[in-house]
């Protein structure tokens, strides 16, 4: 079982924050196939959020093929994101370490590096 939290000032919609937390737990192996997600009532009682938000997050995870509801029993994990993905992390992180070092050596402050990263992410996300 995992715990959810909410970051109100992140600018990310609350239901997406829950989706991301489940994806993150799947990536890191904290959730695996067969695990049960907290019930809607457990989540709202803990995090103080709208039950519809939890349902929406669970529907989105279902759409992504990561979880499935079992009527009367709850919502269960049906797929995992760990594995190959996790192995790729290490290599990507090493590459990113080098890239950040190069950016710093070129005289960029951390804020400038973040801005460059963010604008590039946005630009590539918009390209087909």
């Amino acid at each position: 079982m995992i715990d959810f939290h909410l970051e109100p000032r992140s600018g990310v919609a609350p239901y997406m924050q829950l989706v991301h937390q489940v994806q993150q737990a799947l990536r890191l192996g904290m959730l695996t196939v067969g695990d049960q997600l907290p019930t809607v009532k457990q989540v709202v009682a803990k995090v103080a959020i709208n039950p519809n938000t939890v349902l929406k997050a669970y529907r989105e995870l279902e759409r992504q093929g990561l979880v499935a509801p079992k009527p009367g029993r709850g919502t269960f994990v049906t797929a995992t994101l760990a594995g190959d993905d996790l192995d790729a992390h290490a290599a990507l992180r090493a590459g990113l370490d080098q890239w950040i070092a190069r950016a710093r050596a070129a005289g960029l402050a951390d804020d400038a590096i973040r801005a460059l990263f963010d604008t590039t992410m946005r630009r590539t996300a918009q390209e087909p």
């Binding site: 109100p8 600018g11 919609a13 009532k41 009682a45 103080a48 959020i49 039950p51 519809n52 938000t53």
Partner: protein, 297 residues
Amino acid sequence: MNTPVIATNALTKRYGPHAALTDVTLDIPAGRIVGLVGPNGAGKSTLLALAAGLIRPTSGTVEVLGNRPAADAEQLARVGFVAQDTPVYAQLTVADHLKLGEKLNPRWDPGLAEERLRQTGLDPAKKAGRLSGGQRAQLALTLAAAKRPELLIFDEPVAALDPLARRSFLQSLMEFVADMDVSVVLSSHLIADVERVCDHLVILAESRVQVAGEIDDLTAAHHRIVGPRGSLDELPAGVQVIAAEHTPRQSTLVVHDTTGGRLDLPGAEPIGLEDMVLTYLHRAEGPAAPILQETAR
């Protein structure tokens, strides 16, 4: 459950020359938790009191769950209303309040009331006047919930509470909503709380509704656009400018895309709920608008 919980048409309330609520037309769907936000004096309490049937409109109409507010005993039983500062009878004990609730409400659920008392740790023998603000709010929620209403209305339920009591009140409320088929309308000026618990938003300022809708739809349709001065003078049809600021070189717009499609403009960024709300309030009140109280830190 397709009857709107609150439907108003050109609803107006005047106190002498003062307009408390002007020409409000709203359709609030069932099954939502609705946040009513706006500065003090915007008309939030007036709107909620009209919905609860405590006051009558000057003109226009308001229907709650398809009926006139407070029309009869049946209608009163369907709506739970908790006024500002969660008033209780100071001299009566917590248990007395529950007894009163049982006598006065045809649909009273004693099991639910006792279960909630146990969960919240309220001492039944304690006089309500000696409860803390947070405990008083929990008692008021218990009373309103045990009525088994279809609609719960709260006027500023958490404004006077410290952050911990606020959070535990919202946890209790959300737990109750998850259990029951109940719609909720609450007013608040704490946008962080609204973002947390609400899925539908009504922004009220200067006695008028500025915008209303599902929060996810609203935030998806509002954008901040930054571009070189003059590049943003012409916008696609259906894109309304809510706010515009210019420096000699740069223009910053906040726009509401009412087309329902995807806004395809360079420099357009999503805007958070808080900025969106503040933009509307500034537009309504002019540049001297008071800043909304932010979440307590």
